[in-house]
Symmetry: C2
């Protein structure tokens, strides 16, 4: 199993605090030592940092923490392999172009029977079920909206939820998906979120004594949604997801909670 | 205009020395301050480092130089924008999946009339002629070999050369293309290469006093091809390309020189 982390905001925000918590679980406080990745949007494109090694003692992960890059939307992952060998090809998050924008995907769980779904033009580069599931999701989205990024956001949200349910039916399909504008978070077994907004307070990492007083680094209109496999802080109240439910975040707000079965 | 750098080898090699030379041209010794990128293959997948800022004073570029990653195939680029604004979306090299592998592309020049070429399923994310040309190249390659990565390498090489000539006919289409196995280098106006092999010697950067004695960091069977817009060293003999010619490198050898008109 793996751990997921997503962040979606209304003002460019750095993910250092949450990523530090996740990175600790990548081989130091957790068993997820088989790779890590962090993908940050800037407009419709992303920059990505990926390594098929433990985040906890990665110089690149340390660099990313010490040189924060602000973003409106980020997805991160630490990997404990279940299927697929340890390699860069199998390191989440996966990135593909669809509708002239980068789409980003990270998964926790295993997806039995995933290879019966069509993937069309999207071919996996590695050999994980996760990347295959992402290819199937993109293919089915592309087929549903062949004209490009849909004008109706609601139609897109509902389609993602429907396809998440369809592809994940026989497996454990907790995922984070980014389209540069929304963060979609599907809960199969375990996923939590928190929205930080004014009045901002202090928060302390669950796995470390690292503590941030968000009131010192924010303005009153800031909204930051953070989604994680397990709550990353010990002194905040996180919302637990229900199985077969998908959240849609936009501009730091939970815009929809949709059935995804 | 921009500067290109490619490296293709028979043993994993770090690109630090050449990239240092390129990075100097990215805003310090050269006018190419509008972005830089470095993409390194590991198997069929890549890791990429991209920034829409000058390489010369980039902490990330410094990190990459101080924490060398060995690879068999790398493509780098420093950008001086001609068309397309300064943004991450417009930063080379561009990466797309084709045939279940990452394809990587960087371009120097402008490609007039590029938008008359079909791009099929490949949509540009940014607004450069370069990315559009890459999309056209991928679409036409996909159409020529719909079954996947061609068994006949020669057929693939010749197709890349032919398409490079077709897309670049009305413009200046110096490019580097990687498919994880080969490095293709098309010369329209300016491109040079060198193959370093035993007996290895010392080399000094053209733009700096940085000097490496390659005999200290290599074994006798190593072969490293380096391709650049302009020779990066002042004490080695580089081969200059001819207009409308494409080189194919594999395992540190020049495997073919093909017409590309």
């Amino acid at each position: 199993m793996c751990e997921l982390l997503g962040m979606e905001c209304n003002v460019p925000t750095d993910i250092v605090f949450s990523f530090s918590g996740l990175a600790l679980r990548g081989g130091l406080k957790g068993p997820h030592a088989d790779g890590w990745g962090l993908v940050l949007y800037e407009g419709k494109a992303v920059r990505s940092f990926l390594e098929p090694t433990a985040a906890a003692n990665s110089p690149l992960a340390t660099f990313v923490r010490k040189n924060p890059i602000k973003t409106l939307l980020a997805i991160a992952h630490v990997r404990k392999k279940t299927r697929g060998r340890v390699s860069l090809e199998n390191t989440h998050p996966f990135v593909r172009e669809l509708w002239g924008r980068h789409m980003v995907f990270a998964h926790n769980g295993t997806v039995r029977g995933v290879r019966k779904h069509p993937i069309g033009r999207f071919r996996p580069i590695g050999d994980t079920d996760s990347e295959y599931a992402f290819c199937a999701l993109l293919h089915l989205l592309d087929r549903a909206f062949p004209e490009g990024y849909p004008r109706s956001q609601h139609a897109l949200w509902e389609k993602v939820a429907e396809l998440g349910g369809r592809i994940g039916r026989e497996g454990t399909f907790n995922f984070l998906l980014g389209d540069g504008r929304h963060l979609y978070a599907r809960c199969a077994t375990k996923l939590s979120y928190i929205i930080r907004k004014a009045p901002f307070r202090q928060a302390t990492l669950a796995d470390d004594d690292l503590c941030v007083d968000f009131s010192q680094v924010t303005t009153p209109s800031d909204r930051v949604a953070v989604i994680a496999t397990q709550p990353l802080t010990r002194d905040e109240v996180w919302v637990q997801g229900n199985s077969g439910e998908m959240w849609v975040f936009e501009k730091g707000k939970l815009r929809a909670t949709l059935p995804s079965r």
